[in-house]
């Protein structure tokens, strides 16, 4: 089993927890990981929409079509606010 560490922040972490490992076996790209996650947690689906969420794979911002390849960490960033 190949594990992918999935990280959530802000509002998303309230719903999904800050961290959640998933089995990435058979997953091809970020979109397929999103499908697995929203199956398990339908409530977060609207927050993972590419218009309001950024995907970060092994610390690089990527589009939904990015291949997971051997990546070990996938983070979902909801709308930000600092300062």
């Amino acid at each position: 089993m190949t594990q992918l560490r999935v990280l959530f922040f802000g509002k998303l972490a309230d719903l999904a927890g800050a961290e959640r490992p998933i089995d990435s076996h058979g997953l091809t790209d970020v979109a397929s990981a999103i499908a697995v996650l929203t199956d398990a947690m339908p409530a977060i689906a609207p927050l993972l929409h590419p218009e309001i969420c950024r995907y970060v794979l092994d610390q690089q911002i990527v589009p939904a079509g990015a291949p997971l390849a051997g990546a070990s960490e996938l983070a979902f960033l909801p709308p930000v606010s600092g300062g």
Partner: protein, 151 residues
């Protein structure tokens, strides 16, 4: 030309940091700084929580700071952002920009703050007596940030 970015997990002293930054500067004529403080909002706000993505947040802020240095011709930039739980009057953020002349220092500092407020990977939640609320950038924050994207 130096860029220093730090995420502070506990309280920090903005003026001590600023003094150390100034001591490291070369022949700068202008040093603009901004300190963001937690307001208690008439006793409404009890705690403020800031989240970051360790590693990624620092790298993204440093990348933007480097672009800002080049854009405005800055001599140095210092950014310290607090994360975790904090209370009223705590310093949340310090941004300092040094340049030969003041226009670049002011604009650099202003531009960096707009980025931190509405584009840097940080998440802010206010804890009030009636619950916790995630904060989103205001219309003013968006308009402020748009000033730098236009050109």
């Amino acid at each position: 030309m130096s860029v220093a970015v730090r995420i502070a997990t506990g309280p920090f002293d903005p003026e001590a940091e600023l003094a150390a930054f100034r001591a490291r500067l070369g022949d700068a004529g202008a040093l603009a700084s901004f300190t963001g403080l937690m307001r208690d909002d008439g006793g409404q706000a009890q705690q403020l929580e800031l989240q970051h993505y360790p590693g990624f947040t620092e790298a993204e802020i440093a990348r933007f700071a480097q672009k800002t240095v080049e854009r405005f011709g800055l001599i140095g930039v210092l950014i310290i952002h607090r994360v975790g739980m904090m209370g009223p009057r705590d310093a949340i953020v310090l941004v300092a920009a040094a340049a030969t002349h003041r226009r670049a220092a002011f604009d650099g500092c202003d531009c960096l703050m707009d980025y931190l407020k509405s584009a840097a990977p940080l998440w802010k939640r206010e804890h009030r007596a009636d619950g916790a609320v995630w904060i989103e950038p205001t219309k003013q924050d968006q308009a402020d940030r748009a000033r730098w994207l236009a050109d």
